[in-house]
Point group: C2
Chain length 495, copies 2
């Protein structure tokens, strides 16, 4: 191994150590930290995030990375390291333009904004969050302009979450979907359907937590390399492939949502747990493409988790753990988890209307960054779009614009990833059935881990070393299109 590569690995270890603790601080803040602990935690988080940023953008490291990109050195590297040093060079060139002071102010502001959002949501009072949201918007715009001065800031943000994507390419693929989806949803919603109150009976929270573990194990989550926590909003966090954590949010009278959150976050976690160890601590060692990431969580949650065959091997166990399900047949259960509703809350919605929730958020983000709609007008705009897309209007901001955590710390550009993920899933499903045969049959036989193994082999192991477009191409052999997802929805929900 070249001396320069050894030196790079030493530097990466330092960066990895700093990322380890900032992630751990984040985990702790979201899952267990007592209220008054926030001040010190965010002080420490800001200090070490700033240290990390300085290290990641230092002149010494930049010089080293440039040297490793020079032909003679570059050619001696294996493919993974070629990817890593090339990626680092591009990232550093962009991030070195961000002033360190701006960076640490931003980290501090994000932590504060995130707390204000929680408070605002609990009080259903947008005015608490509004000044923070304003700051998040202007800071993210500024950050995008620092990094790519000649590019439209919202295009830049989209690229942070899904490399290679921008507004033009997303518009093209989302329009295709929107055209088909709005009439389909109208049609489904027009069919008579009654609510079944049995699914909203108070269900012991500890039993729900026990079921979460069963579901995670079932789909292939490895508890030797991961654990669970509780937070306001479910998320997945990886410290390394050997330590990947998922959270959930339990409610007494809504036992089904946490099941699907478990399966969703479990899908993210299985991805991270199965990236090849040699990439650990490098730019390839975690999947940084959120569309691809969401494709995995949503594959488990929707493509697999909303089929009867998924539940056949474990429904008896579910009924044992949750006695409130003892009098509910598997068929009624499967009907409920595929019940298409015009619901206010994205995370509680079915797989079909979910897409419209994302389209709404994507349009909102375009309004913010392209049309400069002022923050004060956003709640009303949100409600108008809900009426347009789903024919319902939120009763308050808690079930309207305040519902998601993403904007609370400036995560603009993330939302499209969810829908991209579903679009990829339609394509992955077709290929998987070509290669493995009927997914229903595999699931019914209790062989879900065969599916996990297929995803491990085709997608997970590569981490970030394959770009989204490459993943789609290598797995499916086809160019990106919504057609498969549309077909899937029509077959399943079109009757």
């Amino acid at each position: 191994m070249s001396e320069k590569l050894t030196k790079l690995q030493e530097e990466l270890k330092k960066i990895q150590n700093l990322n380890h603790i900032t992630s751990l601080l984040y985990w702790d803040m979201k899952t267990i930290m007592p209220k008054e602990g926030f001040g010190r935690h965010s002080e420490v988080l800001t200090a070490f995030s700033t240290d990390c940023f300085k290290l990641e953008t230092s002149d010494e490291l930049y010089a080293l990375v440039k040297e490793l990109n020079a032909p003679c050195e570059y050619e001696s590297l294996d493919d993974d390291w070629k990817f890593i040093v090339k990626r680092m060079l591009r990232d550093m060139e962009e991030s070195r333009r961000i002033p360190a002071e701006f960076f640490s102010e931003m980290v501090q502001a994000q932590a504060e904004s995130s707390v204000a959002w929680e408070e605002a949501k609990n009080a259903s009072d947008f005015s608490i969050f509004a000044p923070h949201l304003e700051k998040m918007i202007s800071e993210q715009r500024q950050k995008a302009l620092y990094m790519q001065p000649d590019k439209d800031p919202y295009d830049t943000m989209i690229g942070w979450y899904e490399e290679g994507m921008d507004v033009a390419s997303i518009d093209r693929i989302f329009e295709e979907l929107k055209k088909e989806l709005i009439p389909l949803v109208k049609d489904i919603l027009s069919r008579p359907k009654t609510e079944d109150a049995r699914f909203f009976r108070p269900t012991d929270l500890n039993a729900q937590k026990q079921l979460e573990k069963v579901l995670l194990r079932y789909i292939g989550f490895d508890f030797n390399k991961g654990c669970t926590g509780e937070s306001e909003h479910p998320f997945t966090l990886e410290l390394s492939a050997n330590d990947v954590r998922v959270t959930n949010h339990f409610q007494e009278t809504n036992p089904i949502d946490p099941m699907f959150s478990a399966i969703h976050e479990g899908g993210h976690a299985i991805f991270e747990q199965n990236i090849k160890p040699s990439l650990d601590g490098t730019a390839g060692g975690s999947c940084s493409y959120m569309g691809i990431h969401e494709s995995q969580s949503r594959f488990y949650e929707n493509i697999l988790g909303r089929r009867k065959a998924f539940w056949i091997p474990i429904y008896g166990e579910l009924q044992k753990i949750l006695p409130t399900f003892a009098d509910i047949s598997i068929d009624d259960f499967v009907k409920e988890i595929n019940h298409v509703r015009a619901s206010m809350i994205r995370t509680e919605s079915d797989e079909v209307t979910y897409c419209l929730h994302i389209l709404l958020r994507y349009e909102m983000e375009k309004e913010i960054f392209r049309n400069n709609v002022p923050v004060s007008e956003l709640p009303v705009l949100w409600n108008q779009k809900m009426e347009e897309f789903l024919g319902v209007t939120p009763a308050n901001d808690a079930e309207g614009i305040l519902q998601d955590m993403h904007w609370s710390d400036g995560g603009f550009g993330y939302f499209p990833s969810y829908l991209l993920g579903s679009i990829y899933d339609g394509m992955f499903l077709e290929k998987m059935e070509e290669e493995l045969g009927s997914v229903d049959e595999i699931l019914e036989k209790g062989e879900i881990l065969k599916i996990t193994a297929w995803l491990n082999e085709k997608i997970h192991q590569y981490g970030s070393t394959r770009l989204p477009k490459e993943v789609i191409e290598k797995v499916t052999g086809k160019p990106l299109s919504s057609a498969s997802l549309i077909r899937y929805f029509k077959e399943k929900h079109g009757k």
Copy 2:
């Protein structure tokens, strides 16, 4: 404020930030980290502990601290800062003699040893732990000799945990107690007593966790400034006075132990939550005297927690939370929690025989460090001493020498603190009743927080700024003696 003091505060903040994350890593390792996460966690812990050690022993900081100890600067400081700079100077002079390389090897070895101990305990196989124990002994001896080359190493270790104490002074005060205690315990154990199986019925773990929170709140633990976790061995950890955490270990068929662990750790936590905020992040900002610390945890656990009056205001709630206690009268409960047994396990023992468990460990540590007894002979020696002190012999090493976590990471010299704590408690109780009146009456009226407030005012707020001897003297006005504790035991258990 002097420029030098401002500079010192900046340096202390850096150290505090590093301590924050090493503590958080420790918390996470003990409470939630998945098994395979250990490698990265301990790597990161070692790296940042070493950074912290280097900062704490740096030439620049040492020069600054020396300047602040020079008469002109020193005289301008308030009493707390006088304590802090004097304490820092002494600590730095000692710790600067430890080579940084030795330090980081030690941290790494401690983390590994701690894991090996858990494995050994679970397998009841001393051979797994023996080589690690050997290393812990030699490293701690070496560390003591680095820090105080002219002092007996075990005396040095005792001083780490209780400033101002050494073997000679502990021998004097422990001998006094041992002479009275061995015949008292013999007498109590000779009285006929039957086991009441009702206390060992399977009790729902989640209900036990709910009760833990009720007990913590009852004694004054502030959940805005603290939280709970679960670990193999209960402990308290403070990140700041605003974030103090306690753990517990729950077992289905032993619901009483976790109640007393909760009260014990709660006592530690209440101490840390009530140190005055101006000391935060300094050498005074956490109580580093373990005898004084244990006096507070053990005051709640034993002096208060084993009285009927403590339980009167909450026994009804306890019975509601734990239905297995519905048919147990408060009098039977109080009898059980004061049942003196010759038990194998220290943490499960009553307040009287507990003292003998500590005397045993203290004698073992003297054998190790004064008489150089080889590690291989320690299990047998342990068992012999159990026979001598309590008339019972452990069936295996899990319930013998492997039971405690303290030696697993080199914490030799800690054990005497528990007994010192109880000895202080005898004296504190006498003074408290002089000033506040009957503790039984206060408790019975549900006014336990009056007692907490008295302890806050007399002891907690000062953190480490008052040395143990000063605390005893200022609170009780008397020199240290076992007499009060002996009187307490004889009055309570002597009939």
